[in-house]
Symmetry: C2
Subunit: 385 residues, 2 copies
């Protein structure tokens, strides 16, 4: 493979322009005045590491197909019933739809994806298989979470299927509102953490439970993460409670999560609370972000562009200053990489050459305007628009 030189760009985090030399899919050098057989001039453009989609639901997507008017009523129960009733009719999960979405994500510079795949007695492991097939077809790096969308304890047969998913190589085990949905937080969490521990899997738990209930469940998650030594491999997704509790409880939980190695993934969807990112980062908590659903039976929104998603995260956090807006971009890059446990991620020599070139004068501008990408390179290979 010929060496490629991206010349004259401004790698995010460096104070001055630098050339990036790419060899064998990795960054072989970064600095001024490098040379190579093939040179791509990106003068003055911003260079980001490959974007990380840390929370989505590929298996549910209707992306690339015709517009499907949302048909559920305005309740959670209504959305669940609507999903179960219509997914078969609409051909969900669909390898074609998932592949279409993955290709769009890649065109925006997303290099890594964590997706929560429904696993339940109705759909079995068909979602897991469809996502695996789409990942293979597109060559995208996709990490699946076996996700009990309809409960574990309240949906007999699910626990066994989750274990089967882990046996088949799924990297992470999910959970869902251990109190609010599954009605027995201790048994729910013990079951999830036990599976993670036995199969060497990561944990990523949907926590919509709000206020003091959600805060208490965060404590339970912290305790189990510590007890089982799973620090660095546990993520709490959404964590709405964080935005609804008093500042001192926020502080205490942020410290506990940082100490235990529990990350937070936010999607900043609709009007739901966004966790206090600045406070979490100041405490040392890893913060990642993602789209949540994209064009599916749960809602029609989402583009697949992680720079646009970072805009939503920054906007909903009322981040106006450049350094604050950069926290949202950090969540869509380094934060996501840490939550997903990605090795060799970044813009340093030796890192995987996943590079996104953006016509923006600063990282904050890239988030706010999320302009068309100038160039996307994954594993050293320049991608087609």
């Amino acid at each position: 493979m010929t060496d490629v030189l991206l010349r004259g760009g401004r790698p995010w985090g460096l104070d001055s322009p630098a050339d990036i030399l790419v060899r064998d899919g990795r960054i072989a050098g970064i600095g001024p005045g490098l040379t190579a057989g093939r040179v791509v001039d990106i003068e003055g453009r911003l260079v980001l590491p490959g974007l990380v989609e840390a929370h989505c639901h590929l298996d549910k997507t209707l992306y690339g197909g015709p517009w499907v008017p949302h048909s559920a009523d305005d309740t959670l129960a209504g959305r669940i019933a609507n999903d179960l009733a219509r997914r078969g009719e609409l051909g969900v999960p669909s390898v074609e739809r998932v592949s279409a979405l993955l290709r769009t994500m890649r065109s925006y510079g997303t290099a890594h994806v964590r997706t929560h795949t429904d696993v339940d007695p109705g759909v079995g492991l068909r979602g897991v298989e469809a996502v695996m097939e789409a990942a293979e077809a597109t060559g995208m790096d996709v990490q699946q979470v076996a996700f009990p969308q309809h409960g574990i304890l309240t949906n007999p047969g699910t626990a066994e299927l989750l274990e089967e998913a882990l046996k088949s190589g799924v990297a992470a085990i999910g959970g869902l509102d251990p109190a609010g949905v599954d009605r027995d937080p201790l048994r729910h969490l013990d079951l999830v953490f036990d599976l993670a521990s036995r199969y060497g899997a990561s944990v990523d738990i949907h926590l919509h439970d709000g206020g003091t209930l959600g805060a208490w469940e965060l404590e339970l998650i912290i305790e189990r993460t510590k007890a089982l030594g799973l620090g660095g491999r546990v993520t709490v997704s959404h964590a709405y409670a964080f935005g609804q509790i008093d500042a001192s409880t926020q502080d205490r939980l942020a410290e506990g999560m940082a100490e235990a190695g529990v990350a937070v993934a936010t999607a900043a969807v609709y009007s739901f609370p966004v966790p206090p990112i600045k406070k979490l980062r100041a405490a040392g908590v890893v913060v990642a972000c993602g789209h949540d659903g994209i064009r599916d039976l749960w809602g029609p929104y989402g583009s697949g562009d992680m720079l646009e998603r970072a805009m939503h995260v920054a906007y909903r956090s009322t981040f106006r200053r450049d350094e604050d807006i950069e926290l949202a971009l950090e969540a869509a890059t380094y934060g996501g990489a840490r939550a997903l446990g990605l090795p060799g991620y970044g813009l340093a020599e030796g890192d995987r050459a996943d590079l996104v070139v953006v016509p923006a004068g600063s990282a904050a501008e890239a988030v706010v305007t999320h302009p068309p990408r100038t160039l996307v390179m994954l594993g050293g290979v320049v991608q087609d628009g």
Copy 2:
């Protein structure tokens, strides 16, 4: 002027495709099988009336210039001080910047703009003049609100300047947090409504004051609108309080506003509360929307695209169903037109031929995806991309 026929489009609100015949800047016919000298084929595309930007701050914009990192601290007082300190240095207000933004707005299909222009002893009427000049230079329909950004009673000399603005032909008089900022809600509102009444001006009041305080101020506004017979000419912008009060107070105020003819304009910015649009519309209250600031010293966000802004309004309202999402589009079209008092607005025969053609299968899809416009026609004239 040659007749133009837009053929085969799907005008929003009609059940079947229809041709639109445009003559002398107006819609001369709408229905199947029309003919004209010049035909533009828009087969299957959605046709919307010209979009209405009902709340922005053109005079403050830095649009089209280099990225300016936000330099205020996180307080309202900090943002005000920063604005006053830096607007001169950055050449605000700038005819060039305002014109650049108006051109972008037009390229997205915005036909009408209401903008709140700072009027205070520091800037005098320079903002009003700059916006007027930019409107003339671009040929855009811009309605100005003389806006006391830094208070009226608390900022001596402002009241006289507001009156001067109205004398010079500015169409509307603004107000700002009569209690929270200006500290004397009765005198503030009496002054604003008296000026409106004497000069035949419309009223558009920024109301960020929250909870029961903001709700009480809404009552004061309703009372004055009725007393002075200004129904249909009064708008409350933002009205955060609506999202913070109990449902029965919401109901009572919505009924009062509908009866008095007081409209609401929302921008759905950051994480600030969005008024309950569905409830307001059900009660018969006119709802409009706009960007608020676009790329200015108050914050770096905003694109000028009213379909994208409608997406924010729908998203923050947790609208998922097509008919709900359409409420946001209604705010960006008919609702804005009613709030601004625009004559001849719509898609009926005789209406001004301000037409936006969008590659979307439905109004909801147009909002969610806000794709590049296929064609923008203003006053019967097709605009350049």
